[in-house]
Symmetry: C2
Subunit: 341 residues, 2 copies
DNA sequence: CTTTCGACTGTTACCGCTAACATAGCGATC
DNA sequence: GATCGCTATGTTAGCGGTAACAGTCGAAAG
């Protein structure tokens, strides 16, 4: 009776408010706002105006619950601070933009436990699909993915068994290829510089492939140096100095990523070392940053943009859950740049 | 009667499934899974085990609708591909990690329209708060923010009027300070190199402050050069070459960000120019990358981590919506590095 | 004029969970 | 032994939308 009028002057708006303001049912408002075609033009206009005037923003939580549809795609990656994953995201968004699907990013910092937590959190929002980096996950994470009943794409790596689909390159092969190129160029005293890799499986696989090819040629790594944390460029510089000081006969430096490779290259140039004569260098990833260096570091692009695109396409295409997942292998190209003779 | 048993063998699980499996009511299951304390220990254990055995993942959509609570915080930033925003995100996550709140990132690519869309999309999930970069937004965006009834923090910049709260630095002042330092060091023929800035308001404000201080000293920019897109490091190199060729008497290069500054620095070093004697350089942001350069570029850190932290604290603290927003000004420190004499 | 049909709009019943309140035990208190 | 006061659990009624189906109404067809 004495319901307080205007007690809550800015209570959050609902369909009902728009419905009352425009004189049609909530259902019709809902139809208009979702862009369905079976509403008369004049009605449509009235509703749109009422909604805009009120500043109504639909509640997707309610909508998703009712329709059992969520236009979100979880994307779980290890890090944002190296340039590689942002580029994957670019590829993903590019494709998803035309589908009504929306990426939601989660970051794991290369921690499997954190990945599990992030995944759990994401799945609890019932996304339409999940894209996640790597093939290595906790058992619980793998189980969740399998149970979720949504398309799952594991990206970056294909050396292993995916839960559902996978898009990536063979890092083992990439490492092998680089080793072969280096050996062919005549280098014999090769050192590896890279991340400490308890959980960077892709770097590990590259190194494995690299060493495999070396040993096939009767060679072995002359030295190796690892780091974790800090400014990659600086670390590359420091590690390079350490290695060249400790093992003066080293004539090639293979870096696990371009950033430390760039640091090493700058160091060598600064020291006036003959590159690629006295010492050769190579990195991995093909990041844009390298274009700005005085001379071009040898590298292998990781097909990041393309991986993002393909993964998104799989999610967008696979409305139906069933059907075996597909595995798409991409092939990185070796760019010898100016640092391999 | 003849309801098909197991018709949908992997229908998605609900509380009811866990409830049946553990022999208690849905409500009790709900309580256990939300970690509420008023459930007997044996019950709690039974429920947990049933949930784990089934692989149940709660449906936050339903939960959020029922409780009118969403543990999400929208974070809207222009870009992920320069190192500045990832660091802001790090600060945000760091604080939010202890609060049960979760950041959700949206990227605008410096487009106001895209920002508006991303914001709309986010608000439709009814987040507990929004953090977004900059003070410049479309009218519609500003209206949505004001209507949303949730804490809003605009970050990076405080030269303007925030919708609610703001955390950032004064870019105008930052530009002024840098100009003063450069003038004090005796440089007189100063050029500016930076982004084309229809929508990079912070770079614009820095330039404004910079020129203001110049003119106060009776000086004016001798040359200027703009770019957009592409590898920043490379652009820095190219623009630097262009400026030094076109205006040989230039003795100082002020860059709108560290990345192009680094490119310029590498170019100068490569050309054997005397830095900082013949020509001085300065950038902006204080990115970690600079630590790896042969000599240290002068810069000003933008307090990115701290901005992220403070913004998150405001959101986390402000359970209540009311109360005027606060404006927190941070003060960047000028690091002269090795490129100002 | 009645019937039919299609275009448009309304009604009803949930979606899966949680707030709020109700209830059942059960030992302590007087 | 009745009452009280807990603690532990259950019941009820939505949260704000949407699917599915049910009208309504005017024009075309018979």
């Amino acid at each position: 009776m004495s319901k307080p009028i205007n007690a809550n002057p800015r209570r959050t708006l609902t369909l009902r408010d728009v419905s009352e303001a425009s004189g049609v049912s909530e259902m019709t408002v809902s139809r208009v706002l979702r862009g369905r075609v079976d509403v008369a033009e004049p009605t449509r206009i009235r509703v749109r105006e009422a909604a805009r005037a009120l500043g109504y923003v639909p509640n997707k939580i309610a909508g998703a619950l009712a329709s059992q549809r969520v236009n979100l795609v979880g994307v779980i990656i290890p890090s944002l601070s190296n340039m590689v994953f942002p580029e994957v995201l670019t590829g993903v968004s590019e494709i998803l933009d035309n589908t009504g699907l929306q990426p939601v990013v989660g970051v794991t910092n290369y921690s499997p436990e954190r990945e599990e937590r992030v995944l759990y959190e994401m799945l609890s929002w019932r996304p339409s699909g999940v894209i996640l980096a790597g093939l290595e996950h906790t058992d619980a994470a793998r189980a969740m993915l399998a149970q979720a009943g949504i398309p799952v794409v594991e990206i970056m790596d294909i050396d292993g068994a995916p839960v559902d689909s996978a898009v990536g390159i063979s890092h083992r092969r990439a490492g092998r290829q680089m080793a072969e190129a280096i050996i062919a160029a005549g280098y014999r005293n090769i050192a590896f510089l890279g991340t400490m890799m308890p959980d960077d499986h892709r770097a590990r696989k590259r190194l494995e492939g690299f060493e495999e090819a070396l040993s096939k040629a009767g060679l072995a790594l002359v030295d190796r140096e690892f780091y974790s944390g800090g400014s990659a460029l600086l670390k590359g510089r420091e590690m390079t100095e350490a290695v060249l000081t400790r093992s003066p006969k080293v004539d090639f430096l293979y870096y696990s990523n371009d950033m430390i490779g760039a640091g090493g290259l700058l160091y060598c140039l600064h020291k006036g070392l003959d590159v690629p004569g006295r010492v050769g260098l190579a990195g991995f990833n093909g990041v844009e940053l390298l274009d700005g260096l005085p001379i071009k570091l040898a590298t292998m692009d990781a097909c990041r943009l393309e991986i993002g695109r393909r993964a998104a396409e799989i999610i967008a295409g696979k409305r139906a859950v069933e059907g075996q997942g597909e595995v798409i292998e991409l092939f990185p190209t070796l760019q010898t740049g100016d640092t391999i003779r």
